[in-house]
Point group: C2
Chain length 434, copies 2
């Protein structure tokens, strides 16, 4: 095969064969196909698209480009979840302990913050000593022993995805449906999940800003999962405002702890129990979604889910004393309210701007390698549809630098659109694709 | 500016600004924009296209990416020609001496063989000692002294074109109208020509295999030339059979010599005098094309053109004794006929296959750096429409290796389509675009 022939075929809108796709991924992974030829091909893929079979082939080739986990020696059926990324999305911190507490083993590879979205690993690292760096055997042993492990992506799983993602990032080829779907799903397949729940976010703080796009991405990913023989369910959920009330690492851990203990915002609980319910259904722990959610709710109510979270912290070296007394988690020096500039109803939020405001406070990375300040972030309890009076707090900024605090306040105020009339609250979910 | 923004704009079908195009070419030339980003952008350009203004901007940016020749201190108006490449195309060897002999200075940068097409420099190097390696001052002095210089492309002229061409070659982005046009015209503009005659080939041995494509390419190039303030004329000419009868380096030099001395094939003479006529018109040496062609014909008939060719050989170190006695040019050891396999009329020729047959004999390069055998090649005097009897020679193979000779014979026979009925001879030209 010749890479130029493959590039020209896709350039002219042709359909690549399974063999061509496998040969490209193998060659790109081992370096025999250079970046510039891969860049030309993925631009052609971006513009010309890929059909369902091509997308599945691409995903499988990427999943097979490195090590593939097989967890069946420690658990008969392992479930995983993936979020397409959002602001204040700490659903994994609540849903995973719920699922594991109900007896469905969870072995999850998580990521770090990207753009305006936080990352589960960054959040968990707010807890002193907690580490996502597990060897494969540690990961397996932990799934066997406590039914829950949360590791970082390793370069050994789906290395083709790591290379391709870095290339897409600098060649204007990120926002391609087949490439996004293959990137997400290749990692999930390589990590050995039997069941996968996809939380596809839609809205001003999400990668997909309209419902049609989000549905299409969800559908492509569910098709890939099914064609690869995995139980796969996608939820389309709202990201037109921060999820729950906390944005920022330690602040989100605290909200997750409250929620596991029966408190926290209703929105976060509803989101987490929905995700957990679908994971339990996939694992065969219940016959109906309602039954599955009832199981998860019971695991919260009797303290088993909270205990599972404590086990997760302890097993990966975290200071359990800090989660038992969240006041011992990192605290920002400055906490100031953001006040409503006039009477009015919150009509809309530019959620990406709010996410970036938190990143700039130090909760995320502006450039690769930036050190994260786990204490800083936002508390944003007021939502679209809420009526406020002038001077009433919209939320609070947790900062360690007065200038950054002032900048965050300006940015958050600029991100809010006010209405004089009543505004409908936003839904949590827009649908399920199975 | 950010290169990713420019890539995304073109990816989505947008129009790049002059500043964006100039910034890209400057950055790609100095290496600050890497190959993989350039590859993504040119694939987007390939698929989405460029309008006339963008194409002109691209060409001018490439022309200005390195040194630019200004020959006005040695000649008030310099003419140049370009052929899009073909099999047996030795028109430059005849037309340039004709034009120079009529008093219009010619300063031409020529290329080497590419694919199935021969190159003017390779042909001239059949003459012992002749060299295209002129310094800028040698080039200028020769234009001033004898009105004719023929040099190789230097890396200092339009270096962006050299880099982009090499990248296009390996990324499936060669056959793009704006990129082809910008590549050709940027070199012509940088080389300082005031008038440019473009010989755009169409047919089975040409880059453009249909008339619409050839016309479009011609039109784009003429527009660029005009917008850049140069007199520009394009001829669309036939390449559905070898031009003239010789294919291969020394064989083509011999045919050119015969033609300059009043012999040779009528087809080559008609082609060369047409090109020369347009060059003389641009240079203001005649009022009408007919007058210009009459001037060129007179320069052949009274021996001035032949003398100009001898001066060109001598000025660049070539052995004049060899062109005075062409039997002293390189001769192949084996010369064998290709015999008609049955009675019939030549209906069509796959001219690229014929060109490749000559390349494989050693007349061209299969891979970069291959050494050329100047002696070998083909004599193909029989043309589309000619009626042959079984066993009559279609042509002759000049080879230095019996196996290669046999292979060339098979390939040439496979390239010819026979007809039982009469077939119209092919035209020389399909039109002029000014």
């Amino acid at each position: 095969m010749r890479i130029v022939d493959i590039i020209e075929k896709k350039r002219d809108g042709g359909e690549l064969t399974t063999a061509e796709i496998e040969w490209f991924i193998a060659g790109y992974t081992d370096g025999s196909i250079p970046d510039y030829q891969a860049a030309a091909l993925i631009m052609a893929v971006f513009i010309r698209g890929m059909n369902r079979r091509e997308t599945v082939d691409l995903t499988l080739a990427m999943a097979r480009s490195g090590d593939q986990l097989d967890l069946h020696d420690v658990a008969p059926f392992v479930v995983d979840k993936h979020s397409s990324g959002g602001v204040g999305d700490k659903v994994s911190l609540v849903a995973l302990p719920l699922v594991a507490a109900c007896g469905a083993p969870v072995g999850k590879m998580s990521g770090r913050g990207l753009g305006s979205s936080g990352g589960t690993l960054d959040k968990m690292e707010s807890i002193t000593g907690w580490s996502p760096d597990l060897t494969l055997s540690e990961f397996k042993r932990q799934v066997a022993e406590i039914g829950l492990a949360l590791a970082g992506q390793t370069a050994d799983l789906a290395p083709a995805d790591g290379k391709l993602y870095a290339l897409r990032d600098v060649t204007g080829t990120v926002a391609s449906m087949p490439l996004i779907a293959a990137s997400i799903m290749s990692k999930k397949l390589a990590a050995g999940a039997d069941g996968i729940v996809l939380d596809v976010k839609m809205g001003s703080g999400a990668f997909m800003s309209n419902l049609d796009q989000a549905r299409e991405l969800a559908k492509v990913m569910v098709n890939i999962g099914k064609d690869a023989g995995r139980r796969t369910t996608a939820l389309i959920s709202d990201m037109n405002q921060p999820l729950g009330y906390a944005v920022g690492n330690a602040l989100e851990v605290k909200e997750a702890i409250e929620t596991l203990q029966g408190g926290g915002s209703a929105a976060l609980w509803q989101h987490a129990v929905e995700v957990a319910g679908h994971m339990l259904l996939q694992a065969g722990k219940a016959e109906t979604l309602a039954d599955a959610k009832a199981l998860a709710t019971a695991a919260r109510d009797d303290g088993r889910a909270w205990e599972k979270f404590r086990q997760l912290v302890a097993a990966q070296g975290g200071a359990v004393a800090e989660v038992d007394d969240p006041a011992r988690l990192p605290q920002a020096k400055l906490v100031e309210p953001i006040l409503a500039p006039a009477d009015g109803v919150i009509g809309a939020m530019d959620t990406a701007v709010i996410g970036w405001a938190s990143v700039k406070l130090g909760a995320g990375r502006m450039v690769k390698g930036d050190k994260i300040d786990h204490a800083v972030g936002l508390i944003m309890p007021r939502k679209v549809g809420d009526r406020l009076q002038m001077g009433e707090p919209i939320g609070f900024i947790h900062a360690n630098d007065a200038d950054k605090l002032a900048q965050a306040r300006d940015e958050i105020l600029s991100a809010i659109t006010w209405s004089d009339e009543a505004v409908e609250p936003l839904p949590h979910f827009y649908g399920v694709i199975e």
